[in-house]
Amino acid sequence: MTELIQQVFNGLSLGSIYALIALGYTMIYGILRFINFAHGDVFMIGAFSGYYLGIVFAFASVTGVASIGMALLIMLGAMVVTGTLGFTVEKLVYKPLRKSPKLTILITAIGVSLFLEYGGQLVFGADPKSFPSLLENKPVVNIAGAVIGSNPLVVLVTAGILMVGLRLIVMKTKIGTAMRAVSYNPTAASLMGININAVISFTFIIGSSLAGAAGILYGLNYPSIDPLMGILPGLKAFVAAVLGGIGNIPGAALGGMIIGLLETFVTGYISPTYRDAIAFGILILILLFKPTGLLGKKEIEKV
């Protein structure tokens, strides 16, 4: 029982990070109908921003512990950096290609991804870096021997707050309504006076800054970061987005949690060797039996 409780918690804290990345995939797909494969690398840039911000204005050495306020500031800083990155990439790279075939823009996204990965190796170095201890990790909950640390709890809560915040933006604000309108029908939305470019930029900024936040939370939980760290979490978050129904925001959150739990259970009870095979096997099964994902709605092709 102890083991089970601990495993569920391990899975949820891993899954919440996948969920945050998956949100970016799903939002951008919802608006532009394209998979931004560079999204996992935006997540990596977020982690590195946190690493450098942590060193620059929190403390001289990486072993020091910052205050909660400082940790929050660093996370906001990383979100600003990745938000700006997302905005710039969209304006410089994706916007000129908006009228091109979908395949062109997809290949370009892979190019951006490789550029960030190997550019990162050049700038940051290829060795893993130890992420600063932004918060001290104290065991807070102890249920029947299952120890739950404060950091994984912080990760879970922060991810939850960000997801609720996103939901509020999309459902309650004017720009959120505009996003939904563009997602539903871009041409009709622009005829109603919605500035499509602004909506797309906004979507990229929000999606990328969520990935940046995920980078910080990841660093908090798994304090070893390197320029290629975004590849696998990025792919798994993509699976999570498809699992939940690509384009569907609650679906991405749900998908992330499911993938996180599944991975943890496969590793803990079956074998870590099959972990990734099972995650991607599920993607195949879903595409076979429910191509729209768990919460996705069937889209009618208009001719």
Partner: protein, 379 residues
């Protein structure tokens, strides 16, 4: 006209590349190749070993060189990847025409480079690959360190006799020949000596989340966990083990040896843990202390075991060349096989029939992020 111009450039380029391609080494230089992970997740392995080897070469050249010639070292980075290791060893032998190769630290990479040296009949000495299969690849492949069956015995004895613990869990890296090999030897040896292995879990190098495995291990209540793996992964494993409330000592092997092992939060997580390795910097032996002083003067850091071993790998290669009186690979190989009681900085080196060195191991304890000498175990 334009076409002619481009073809001229192309011809010139080909000419330049083919000339630089057959670098025979000017007559007064002996070319020795080295491959190592200067970047990537195990970067300190390559950096330390190349530093140690450079020191050996520099000293040799300052004291008049070898066979009347200067030795020139060519070092390539393999990024810690076996495929890359193959490429650079090929390049060392075919393009640079080296007469001997030194490397790698990681057994998986040595196993990738060694067959190429063997095929081309170029002697290769690995400073620190402990997996027994490395030197089994052929008669041109040597090592200056002990092998894993011995290391497994050392660790088993230490856990049972010194720590007096009987229930141990095992966590190994399935992507790594060193880790799986050592884990298998340990499992067998520890059981033979009367210990109990309560759980075996695995991961793949590069994983960041180990909590699922550690939680399964925790459920079996082991008294210690043996983790034969490399320092980058162990760093994260130790932090996560403490996070989920696993407080038992973690025991490791020579793959832990790196100043980066205790980086960040792992400094506290690994307090009071132990690992086996090749040499202790606390050993008062004048040879060891002299090497530490020289190394510190040149690199401004304390050498780790990989630096010591690479220095010794250089020394026995030069010794074999001196005895052979030539750099002809076959004769050098024959002399390498005869090395006996050679006094290096890691102790007496004798090459046995399997081309392995027979040497004692030391156990180090981690205290305040530093590696303190605990005990020596003779073969």
């Amino acid at each position: 006209m334009k076409k002619l111009f481009f073809s001229m450039i192309a011809i010139a380029a080909i000419a330049v590349f083919s000339v630089s391609g057959c670098n025979k080494g000017s007559g007064d230089e002996i070319l020795i190749g080295e491959y190592g992970s200067l970047t990537g997740p195990n970067a300190t392995f390559g950096i330390s070993s190349t530093n140690g080897l450079k020191l050996a070469v520099e000293e040799l050249n300052n004291s008049g060189g070898l066979l009347g010639k200067k030795v020139k070292l060519i070092t390539y980075d393999d990024q810690g990847k076996p495929s890359e290791a193959q490429t650079v060893v090929q390049r060392l032998i075919k393009n640079d025409n080296v007469v001997a190769v030194i490397g790698e630290v990681a057994s998986s990479n040595s196993k990738a480079g060694a067959p190429i040296c063997q095929q081309n009949k170029i002697p290769m000495i690995t400073p620190a690959s402990t997996n027994p299969e490395v030197t089994a690849i052929g008669d041109y492949i040597f090592r200056v360190c002990f092998i894993d069956p011995f290391q497994a015995t050392v660790v088993s004895k230490f856990i049972l006799n010194t720590l007096k613990l009987k229930k141990v869990a095992l966590l190994k890296d399935v992507k790594n020949a060193y880790s799986t090999g050592l884990a298998d030897f340990f499992e067998k040896e520890f059981r033979n000596m009367g210990g109990e292995i309560v759980e075996v879990q695995s991961f793949s190098a590069g994983d960041k989340d180990f909590k699922a495995q550690l939680t399964s291990i925790k459920a079996k209540n082991p008294e210690a966990i043996f983790i034969p793996a490399y320092y980058t992964d162990v760093n994260l494993i130790s932090i996560q083990a403490r996070e989920i409330g696993l407080t038992v000592p973690l025991i490791g092997s020579d793959g832990w040896e790196s100043e980066k092992l205790t980086e960040g939060k792992a400094k506290d997580a690994l307090e009071g843990c132990y690992f086996s390795t090749h040499v202790s910097t606390e050993n008062p032996d004048p040879k060891i202390q002299e090497f530490i002083t020289k190394y510190k003067a040149k690199y401004n850091s304390t050498p780790d075991a990989m630096a010591f071993l690479a220095y010794d790998a250089g020394l026995i290669l030069f010794e074999a060349m001196k005895k052979a009186g030539t750099t002809e690979p076959e004769k050098v190989k024959n002399e390498l096989a005869k090395i006996k009681d050679f006094l290096g900085v890691t102790g007496k080196i004798s090459i046995n029939e399997q081309r392995n060195a027979v040497k004692p191991a030391v156990i180090l304890e981690i205290k305040g992020g530093e590696f303190k000498f605990k005990e020596t175990v003779q073969p």
